[in-house]
Amino acid sequence: MKCRVCREPAVIDLRRHNANFCIEHFLRLCRDQVAKAIAEHDMFAPEDRILIAVSGGKDSLALWDILLDMGYQVDGLYIGLGIGEYSEQSVTYVEKFVESRDVNLRIIDLPTEYGYDIPSGSRAAKRTPCSACGLSKRHLFDQAATEGGYDVVVTGHNLDDEAAVLLGNTLRWQSDYLGRQKPVLPAGHGFPRKVKPLVRLGEREMAAYCVLTGIDYIVDECPKAVGNKHLGYKEVLNLLEAQSPGSKHDFYAGFLARAVDRFASAEDETIDDRPALRPCTACGAPCSSEVCAFCRLVERATQDVPVKLGPTAKKEPTSL
């Protein structure tokens, strides 16, 4: 296999581009795709202060590397989730990257600073671990961006992530979620601007970027995510992709080009009907009730009260 650009030996074949690339031209492709996404969706300007949410995984570390190479000012934020060995390992990859690139990193450790971890928080709040994790991360990213005076929060959501979320939302016709599924979430109501510069790159490309640039990342999957629906959607989409390369891109890009605004207008109409946002009485974050969902989760997770179990229903004998 030869590189499509220079005809030197290729290291990766990208079937959706019907092309192969050498190291140099593959890395250039990744940077070009990020630059295109930033320009196409007007994500941020060169003078903006950027806060990147990093996990120790391939996507966020690769994106941080690319943005730094492009000359942007990007600080990192890592949330320690308290998921045993997985969290202990993931932070070491972030710290190693920070040392190699001499950049700023803030670490917020949930067990140390808030007195709970994701496993206990999810049990106490009766949420799935992924739901408790997402709620905690969103709140802390928003808070850190606002307190730090950042112009924008960037996350490492890639094409596969967005296509999988789109599939899940479409299967249930969740019009409110569909209307918000854009690469840019504007600032407003006290929330910072959030953007996803990796929407033109798949996760195979991001893993390849890390291997080829020598970025070490946590390869093992989060033990709390194993077997979740999101991973199932990705598996299904990759089966389609193998049969018909380009399907994931066409699905997501077609949605952005031809469908999202139809759902967005439906979403806009419902915004006025929602109760006005006001500051959370505990932390001051904008929310629609007296206490925000994050503070309620912290309160439940740190209460020293055992979970009450109801009486077990007696099973009636069944006959075949």
């Binding site: 296999m1 290729a10 290291v11 990766i12 074949d13 079937r15 192969n20 190291i23 995984g57 391939k58 996507d59 671990p129 992924c130 739901s131 994790c133 997402g134 709620l135 991360k137 969103r138 596969d160 992530d161 999988a164 979320v165 899940g168 798949g202 996760e203 195979r204 991001m206 893993a207 390849a208 291997v211 080829l212 390869v219 093992d220 999957e221 989060c222 709390k224 995510a225 979740n228 629906k229 999101h230 991973l231 990705k234 598996e235 990759n238 089966l239 992709e241 193998a242």
Partner: protein, 66 residues
Amino acid sequence: MKVELRNPNRTLEFKGTMSVVALLNRLELNRESVLVIRDGTLVPGDAMLAHEDHIEIRSVISGGNS
């Protein structure tokens, strides 16, 4: 050749030479979901793997969903 896989971690051994695509087909793995790594760098689908090669097959799928 020795082939390392993860989740669960295991090492498989194969005799002779074969292409990357043939190895993935034999393991029933989707090319879209993995990278094949030899000596710290990537090898494309048509590359031939030798008997003495040490290969890592790395899944690229990750992520929870909130």
